[in-house]
Subunit: 357 residues, 2 copies
């Protein structure tokens, strides 16, 4: 387990690190959204490079995660495929051996092949998790234009007030700013709500899939050990021949039992438990109570109504936002189109097949 | 599950397959050890290509398996590494989010990183399994020369009897053949014993490692779901800010609980069981009883004595056999050297590091 219980480097710097600080970051290459270089500069940079295929700053980190997850999927797929090949090769080798070794290796091959198939199924479910994470990336990308617009109008007002303080356009722009701010408030609330909803959905899905996969593979491993007991490993002396093998029915029954166990596995009878200690349970419960109390403190029903015609309460498709189609990502263009068209929870949406084809 | 409960294509041919049989195998390119072309031909071929880097026919299929397992290991290693990278990227993304999302994604990163580390540990254990399978390949390779020698002498005797039936060398060769046959009987018994012993050891080890790995990952998945409950996903209305996050202690306690569960996991309290049905249990028990009865039928203690100074009863290192060093495999030369020098069960023998370096 990571020592500090955090992936972030939050440890205090060592004496040596304090003595030799890293060089200061280049002020011309900052590229940071929130930084000393000011928001306006970052905005202008972004506007000028509208044809650039990189997504807006806000969705960049998550876009990177989505890409990295694709690599994980490809590697897992490779493991599954190679495992199936190994299973076949084990059976091929065993074929020339004595009857018991031959039968058991063939059946072991069946079990290993099954692990490979489970791995392939897990990759499909991993893709579902990834598609859900993508929907967070998309909302991040769609919120950016509304931030941009607010900033742009604020800039224009400031410029006009400096150059032509009497211009009638200032009033028009100020009204526009009020509208932009309202839009931005909605967008930020959407971002907050969708991010949480989808984050929980994505990882709940991933962890459930992972648990199912792991328990099933552990079941197979157990039956594999039963199979091994059919091999007669009592040593023979030179010239002695082994007794005829009488385990064909037994090995077949073991495989059948294994298949039944896998077929009947449901989430509700998962064997591995992850119980919380008293301390963790108390702390978690306190947190959940607070969440619930806050939720009850407001009557949200009236306020939510105007947006309720959309799928997730506050969700507005990215293209509804002005400039929402600005987000482009060469590699993933097709996939974004998918997630805009169809619901994220649509079971038939399998990015993987098209991507890998 | 594989329909036929076998990896082998034992199904009856279809009408279409019977109508269009595959072309007959080329008689000049046979390459088969046991076939119509006769053992002598295969032997001569082998002798002439002694400098060929391919191993003897007998260990070829298993040599192939060993190579394929190396690929499985590399792919699994890749998955582990990529999973760790993904864990870090998730934390990086979460850093800019609200406090609760930031804390939970960071802690999720810790759990995912741990999965990656477990995968890496599993690869190490997979390598141990693979090294054990290699020892079967090595005994297969070492038995080959003794088969060859017997055949060679038999051929010489037949040739002499035809060309010079009165030659005094025939008697000498016949005595030599008796010795070669004795050697061969020992070699075949060794092959049978080592194959069974190591096959059971290798797969017992793999299945135990797999079970441990799977149960631990399932534990992590469970704690991951506890973490997700700390995220406040009650929707906020535009302009509303969320309550301050109070879950830092809770998330830390969850991670600590998870770490404790992983640290205290032992094989004996494995949660996933693979119980046999009554039928499979009866059949398996019958088979085991038969094995035991046969083992008791002989008093092997006296016969085994001459070889007892070796590690596994009948095991003789490959190089003791005349021509045992004939087996070569460019890619794996170094590894063979390893497994000749050290015991297979030596925990410090890790082919993986050197191979991948």
């Amino acid at each position: 387990m990571h020592r500090t219980y955090s992936m972030r480097q939050s440890r205090a710097p060592t004496a040596s690190q304090l003595q030799n600080p890293p060089p200061p970051p280049s002020s011309t290459k900052s590229g940071k959204f929130f930084g000393r270089s000011g928001i306006g500069h970052a905005m202008r940079l972004k506007t000028h490079s509208a044809l650039n295929t990189r997504g807006p700053e806000l969705s960049k980190k998550l876009g990177q995660l989505v890409k990295m997850e694709k690599n994980v999927m490809r590697s897992m797929e490779l493991v599954g495929r190679e495992r199936m090949e190994v299973a076949q090769q084990l059976s091929i080798w065993g074929e020339a051996c004595d009857e018991d070794v031959s039968d058991v290796t063939d059946k072991l091959g069946v079990l290993l092949y099954e692990i490979g198939e489970l791995e392939d199924q897990y990759v499909d479910r991993y893709d579902q998790y990834r598609v859900t994470i993508k929907s967070i990336r998309n909302i991040e990308a769609s919120v950016q234009p509304s931030r941009d617009r607010k900033q742009k109008i604020t800039d224009q007002i400031a410029q006009l007030k400096y150059k032509e303080p009497e211009s009638p356009r200032i009033v028009v722009l100020e009204q526009e700013l009020v509208r932009a701010e309202a839009e931005s408030l909605v967008a930020e609330a959407q971002l907050s709500n969708i991010t949480r909803e989808k984050l929980k959905a994505a990882y709940t899905y991933q962890f459930d899939a992972l648990r199912e996969h792991c328990e099933k593979v552990a079941i197979i491993a157990g039956y594999g050990k039963h199979l091994l007991e059919l091999v007669d490993d009592t040593p023979v002396t030179p010239g002695e021949t082994r007794q005829a093998y009488d385990g064909y029915e037994a090995s077949k029954a073991i495989i059948q039992d294994c298949e039944d166990s896998l077929t009947n596995w449901v989430n509700s009878n998962a064997a591995v438990s992850s119980n919380l200690s008293t301390r963790a349970r108390t702390l978690s419960q306190r947190r959940r109570n607070n969440i619930q109390r806050n939720a009850q403190g407001h009557d949200l029903t009236g306020q939510d109504q105007p947006l309720n015609d959309n799928e997730s309460g506050l969700w507005v498709p990215a293209e509804v936002h002005k400039g929402g189609d600005e987000y482009e990502d060469e590699e993933e263009e097709e996939e974004i189109a998918h997630s805009h068209q169809g619901s994220i929870t649509n079971g038939e949406l399998r990015g993987r097949q098209e991507e890998l084809a």
